[in-house]
């Protein structure tokens, strides 16, 4: 294969803009979500979820260790899930996941909406959606 010269700028000349920061955020938030989901599943096992687990339960605990997710399961005691520590853990996962997900939708939309005006509208809607889902989700978790 023929070697071609790299056309990209060196890192020092590229500078940082918002899209670049969001690009790195997508990768780092993915790593954060792996860690939080692993932590949530381990926490669920410690808090008594070891018996009679099925796939839906594992997904519930993995993605959001909050008390409404426990009520439907065979775990008798939901008190350990009600502590501020686990609520804050769930809210942290929610915040990272909402930002990652809505940014992903913006990236998808950018492939089909190419006008400057359209992309601005997409960004305004995305900010509103982040606020909507983060605030309602945090409310659901905190008051559950």
């Amino acid at each position: 294969m023929e070697k071609t010269k790299a056309k990209s700028l060196p890192l020092s000349k590229r500078g940082l803009n918002f899209e670049m920061l969001m690009w790195i955020f997508t990768r780092l938030s993915a790593l954060a979500m792996y860690a939080l989901i692993l932590f949530a599943i381990l926490g669920a096992l410690v808090m008594g979820a070891r018996y009679q687990m099925n796939m839906a339960d594992i997904m519930r605990w993995g993605f959001m260790p909050n008390s409404p997710h426990v009520v439907n399961t065979d775990v008798p005691d939901i008190a350990p899930w009600m502590t501020p520590f686990w609520k804050l853990t769930a809210i942290a996962l929610l915040l990272v996941a909402v930002a990652h997900g809505i940014h992903g939708l913006v990236v998808v939309a950018d492939d089909y909406i190419v006008s400057h005006r359209g992309r601005q509208i997409v960004r305004v809607i995305s900010i509103l959606l982040v606020l909507l889902f983060f605030l309602t989700g945090a409310y659901v978790i905190w008051t559950a």
Partner: protein, 127 residues
Amino acid sequence: MALKRQVGLKQGLRYKGGGPMLVWVLHRISGIGIALFVGLHILASLTSQLYGWEIAKSINILYESSVFQMVVFFCALFHAINGLRITILDLWPKLIEHQREAIWVEWAVFIPLFSLAVVVIVTTAGG
């Protein structure tokens, strides 16, 4: 910003992107699927918690069905494993030379894990 796409849907479907294009499409579809599911789930939980709406409760009960579990788990697991591949290749750019092998590794991890999950879902899910 004046991008023009001259490719229609039929031509797009005939494009032979192979393995990398397949995982790109699946990553996109599974990402949209997760966003729809999580968004609907948050709003349904809010309305059932605040107002006790029956429709919100029935939406949340829908998630118990085995088909729904399989779809959600496919989206979540595929997005997670493919995302890990992307993250590793992007954070260590020298590995991009081996991206086709990375996709084979990805399937070798995904297929056994998802098959196991399907067995667990079929044997334990209620409906």
